[in-house]
């Protein structure tokens, strides 16, 4: 299972990165590969290469704002949640994303 995700919160200093580590840990726990891009106050960091997006099974947007350059994800299965859901229960969010693709 290949997961890619984008996290972004309003101030872009805390929730963005906590959601990132939450998703990474949750994916690790179930043996899924994942790449999380953060769109915080520093702008885009750890940008996901387009070929990884194309190869991904599912996309998670853990965002409170609009995803920058969203057109890169055109046609992908996307689960969209708020960052705080990922901070509280990242495992649940990842499970829901995987359910989405069956």
């Amino acid at each position: 299972m290949k997961v890619v995700a984008v996290t972004a919160c309003i101030s872009g200093i805390a929730h963005t990165y906590m959601a990132k580590s939450g998703i990474e840990n949750a994916c690790k726990a179930i043996g899924a590969s994942c790449h999380v891009e953060t769109q915080g106050a520093m702008g885009i960091e750890d940008r996901i290469p387009q070929d990884e997006i194309d190869a991904a099974d599912v996309v998670i947007f853990a965002v409170d704002t609009t995803v920058t350059e969203r057109d890169r994800f055109e046609g992908k299965k996307v689960l969209e949640v708020g960052t705080s859901e990922c901070v509280k229960d990242a495992a649940g969010v990842v499970a829901r994303a995987i359910e989405l693709v069956g």
Partner: protein, 348 residues
Amino acid sequence: MNAKQLGKDIMRHFSTGVSYMVPVVVAGGIITSVATIIGGQGVWTETETFWGVMRMIGQTGLNFVVPMISAYVAYSIADRPGLAPGFITGLIAFTMGTGFLGGMVTGLCSGYLAKALKGINLPARVQSLKVMFIIPIVTTLCIGLLLWYVVGTPIAWLTTSLDAWLNSLQGAAAGAMGAILGAMMAFDMGGPVNKIANTFGNAAFVEGAYQSSTLVLMAISIPPTIVFLATLLDRKKKLYSDAERETSVTAMIMGLCGITEGTIPFALGDPLRVIPSIVVGTSLSCALAGIFGIVYPVLLTTYMAIPFANNIPVYLVCVAVGSLVGALMLNALRTLKLKKQEAAEATE
């Protein structure tokens, strides 16, 4: 699209606008604050002295807040085509005195109009004409005219009345305002509810409604103070684990720098007890500050603002009382939890 989804989308567009605006408020607000505090009120009208120049730099930043929010709300809706009309109409909104509210309205209108124009299918040979000319010109002109002739004046009136009302709040009314803002600031420690209150505080500061901005800003470092104080008061070290003690110190250090988010790791370990305690404590501090009319005309957080409060001893008492009540409440709740656990273990 149903109304609920639309509301959610609009909230997200506002959030995006705010996220781009925050550095502008911080840069402009803090530079202006420092300049007026050190240079005195004279700096507002001159650029002959160093502090006058510094005020000018900061104020230029603050004047940019409304165009900025308008542009990035529009950008969030329509992507790049939203930026130009958003900036231009936002600047008009600012000069008309419509404040934040006006900027949000012009951002929304510009964004949705630009998006709608983007969606119109034209023959391929005029398609590039659409992007180059039609979208920026039509959107800017339509929203500009709409603002000037229709919505601008009522919004400006609303903003002025709101500012006047906020500045006139005294005693119990100001206390109630403080209680609500403090509770919102503490509730999710930097999350969406906190940001609503924070944006309100920033807007109030930009408009010169310093009492409201004070009630928001002073709340920022109280949640970390509460958890730090709670671990300190637990002298026998029974209520908190070593890991919790460590996170409370980190939270306090971040709190001193004006970041509430440091409290989140601590709160996540026991949200049902931590969140109510910090909400009650912070709310109490801000309510007291409202009742006693604490005001500071600077964009600084709880501790950094101390020298600028109009009544420093009373301000410190307000902060201390709320923090202490929050900490004691947290320790009481944790003691109950501990007793429950002990009882459960005893019966096993």
